[in-house]
């Protein structure tokens, strides 16, 4: 009886866990048939570099969404952190000051979000919607609507450099995901992210200081937005007042494609990187085929819908079967009792 159960849930589990990986593989195979330029080193390098930014943001967003929250502000936080960092460098400071300023501004915005959400007991959607507007507004005011050039070559390395033939942004992405994996698997905070997302009230009743956990979560997310601020500024040789517009949407899309539940408590960061790759490969293929960017958005929307629908079907199927079988184990157990 147990064996049957294990078999059923194992197959479901396999499909659930690797379903999106399968989608990605199919897309890659299709892409290589559609364009012979797809599988060139230059192109693959290009894809991963494009994916890197969204993937780093999506890593932070995974934490936020598993905790039952959402963060709409990160696109604007990229802009404000980049602008202030570039401003510091334009004022004559070195790349270290520029780097630290950018990261610190991101962290500060994230922590502020967290404080309002936790201690103000406000919905994350509303708080981050407000700070999205605030951060974008500050950026426009600070830059006067013009880009701030960055000429420091060491700083530019964060967007254009290589570490043994791997682009720096990609290296950063890889490090972020390794840390993210370790965070969820081995740290107390990572565990509490799941717990708070699964049942916040029960966490409070178990003596978890939920408010601190939330501040930490949004702080981490802000810090990652700052990190992307560094990469983007370096990549463009300047801080643009319109940098990062709607980046939060791609990040959320990657998280959802990765199988993380928007209702919190369920999901994993490994899925997110696959989600980000799916979005990236899709865009790349369209570029290679010279499809208009307008159609790209249409296609992206459809892919997200179909993918999530598929996941939903698999997920729902898996759950009912497991539930029924499990009431069976109860039965067997009460028989033994």
């Amino acid at each position: 009886m147990k064996a049957v159960k294990r078999l059923v849930s194992a197959r479901q589990e396999l499909l659930r866990r690797y379903g999106m990986l399968l989608v990605l593989l199919v897309m890659v195979i299709l892409a290589s048939f559609l364009s012979d330029r797809f599988f060139t080193t230059a192109n693959l390098m290009n894809v991963t570099r494009q994916v890197a930014i969204n993937a780093i943001l999506a890593a932070g967003m995974t934490i936020v969404i598993i905790s039952g929250g959402i963060d709409l502000s990160i696109g604007s936080v990229i802009a404000i952190s980049g602008a202030l960092g570039a401003g510091v460098m334009a004022g004559g400071s070195g790349w270290v000051a520029g780097l630290l300023t950018t990261l610190a501004v991101g962290l500060a915005f994230g922590i502020t979000n967290g404080l309002f959400i936790a201690y103000g007991q406000l919905p994350p959607f509303i708080v981050t919607l407000a700070s999205m507007a605030l951060a974008r507004g500050f950026t426009q005011v600070y830059t006067g609507g013009r880009a701030i050039q960055v000429s420091n070559q060491t700083f530019q390395w964060f967007g254009h450099g290589y570490i043994s033939s791997i682009p720096v942004p990609v290296t950063i992405m890889i490090v972020v995901y390794i840390l993210g994996y370790l965070f969820f698997k081995h740290t107390k905070l990572g565990r509490l992210v799941y717990a708070v997302g699964g049942n916040e009230h029960a966490c409070r009743m178990a003596g978890i200081r939920v408010n601190r956990v939330k501040v930490a979560i949004y702080g981490i997310n802000g810090l990652l937005a700052g990190l992307v601020g560094v990469i983007l500024t370096a990549r463009l040789f300047s801080a643009q007042p319109t940098a990062g517009v709607s980046y939060e949407m791609d990040a959320i899309a990657a998280v959802i494609l990765g199988g993380t539940s928007l209702s919190g408590g369920r999901g994993n960061i490994g899925g997110t990187i696959i989600g980000a790759l799916i979005i990236g490969v899709l865009g790349n293929v369209f570029n290679l085929l010279n499809v208009s960017p307008f159609y790209q958005d249409v296609a992206k929307g459809m892919v997200i819908l179909v993918a999530v629908l598929l996941d939903r079907l698999l997920h729902a199927g898996g759950r009912t079967i497991r539930k029924e079988v499990d009431s069976g184990t109860d039965k067997a157990e009460s028989a033994r009792a």
Binding site: K188, M205, G207, I208, G328, A337
Partner: protein, 505 residues
Amino acid sequence: MAKERPAENRYVVRMKGITKAFPGVQALDGVDFDIIAGEVHALVGENGAGKSTLSKILTGVYTKDSGVIEIKGQPVEINNPLDAQRLGIRIIHQEFNLINHMSVMENMFLDELGQKPWGLVSYRTMRRRAKEVLQWLGLDVSPDRLVSELSVGEQQTVEIAAALSKEADVIIMDEPTAALTDAEVERLFGIIQRLRAQGKAIVYISHKLEEIMAIADRVTVLRDGRLIGTKATSELTRDEIVHMMVGRPLRQMYVRSRKPSSEVVLEVENLTVPGKVKDVSLVAHKGEVVGLTGLMGAGQHDVLRAVFGALPVSSGTIKVRGREVSIRSPWDAIRSGIGLLTENRKEEGLILPLSVMFNMSLASMDKVTRLGIIAHKQERSQADSYVDQLDIRTPSVDQQVEYLSGGNQQKVVLAKWLATEPEIILMSEPTRGIDVGAKAEVYRLIDELAAQGKVILLVSSELPEVINLSDRIYVMYEGRVAAELDATKTSQEEIGLYGTGGYTR
């Protein structure tokens, strides 16, 4: 019981040889079940015995693998919930299916809304029909009131009203009294009597055997998906039903192996929670089980929450081993060696999507982490040892806790608190919604914990449980302690008298 009727009309529902298998398990195995018009028919069994599968087949949530269902003598197929409704079968769930921000009448006629052309709604007709049904049920509530403004008991009556607003011959009630106060239970029973007198059949699913003895005409017992028997309630005793349910006589529900000492561990002095608890003082000794009881809303649950820091107090002191402690949050309480097993394990006790192991270490994360890093081996061996110690039935400690039965879930919550190594365990309704076998185990565990020297403060609305488990009992009335009684010398009647304000000091 109902008057004799012509044979073909006697049975509203006959289910014969009903079989249902889920992958790897036989949930129902050739079960016969019939319902006579004008009877209250109790369906009992332990969790997983097949009660809910049977009622789900009757209401069209599941379809049977084999067997025959006859409604008033006609063989029928029930393939979905709509079929069941058309055949006059209604179910009132344990968790209500009401929409909180809609009015009473809108909830009652939910499936008729939008059936008129252009989606128009005749509120006048609806109000009139709602009033009729509500009046008949004796619920004095305006049809325009929002459901969210009603008490739990009133909400349940609205559910019944919704069921009655359409043609219903059979009404299935699944654990209908789980969230009701005594007075509300009384009223529900009154309604059931009237429905019965009208010739409606009630299928009554419950764990509470006292209620079944009081209200049911016949009892059907299921065990392991098989029919154990159907008998008139008048031919059965409570113990016989238990025997049929668990397949053996329960040796002893209550055990007392502990010896409370005179060493005071917990002192609560003049505790006041605005509007809920007034000037409550109590003490508890090492190795003692102290019962706290009273009518619903007399403040006993609030005392536990206040001591645990989950309710803000306006005045009062709490001393642990003579030392005054400041408790403003559950976190403070846990550090003072206090744990609280809440009355609603799914809402406050468990993180359902997480594993057994994660749930067990949740309240004591610091004990299994070093500098914020989880010590996996230690966490796992702790979980394994609690699974052994409390005899928790789960395939592994990695199992998601939502797939465990109620009794096993409750033991996981208990393990979570034991892992914090508390001196004082506050327990609020520790056996709510778990079956007879699991109850006996929880009783044994409470005795064992006290024997180890822990202090247990127990709140339960089941009086026999309070009397048989406790050493001393505080009876509360309107937020105050009305009496302190020796559990071995008191009776349900005496507690009832103090609990209703019968004696005043």
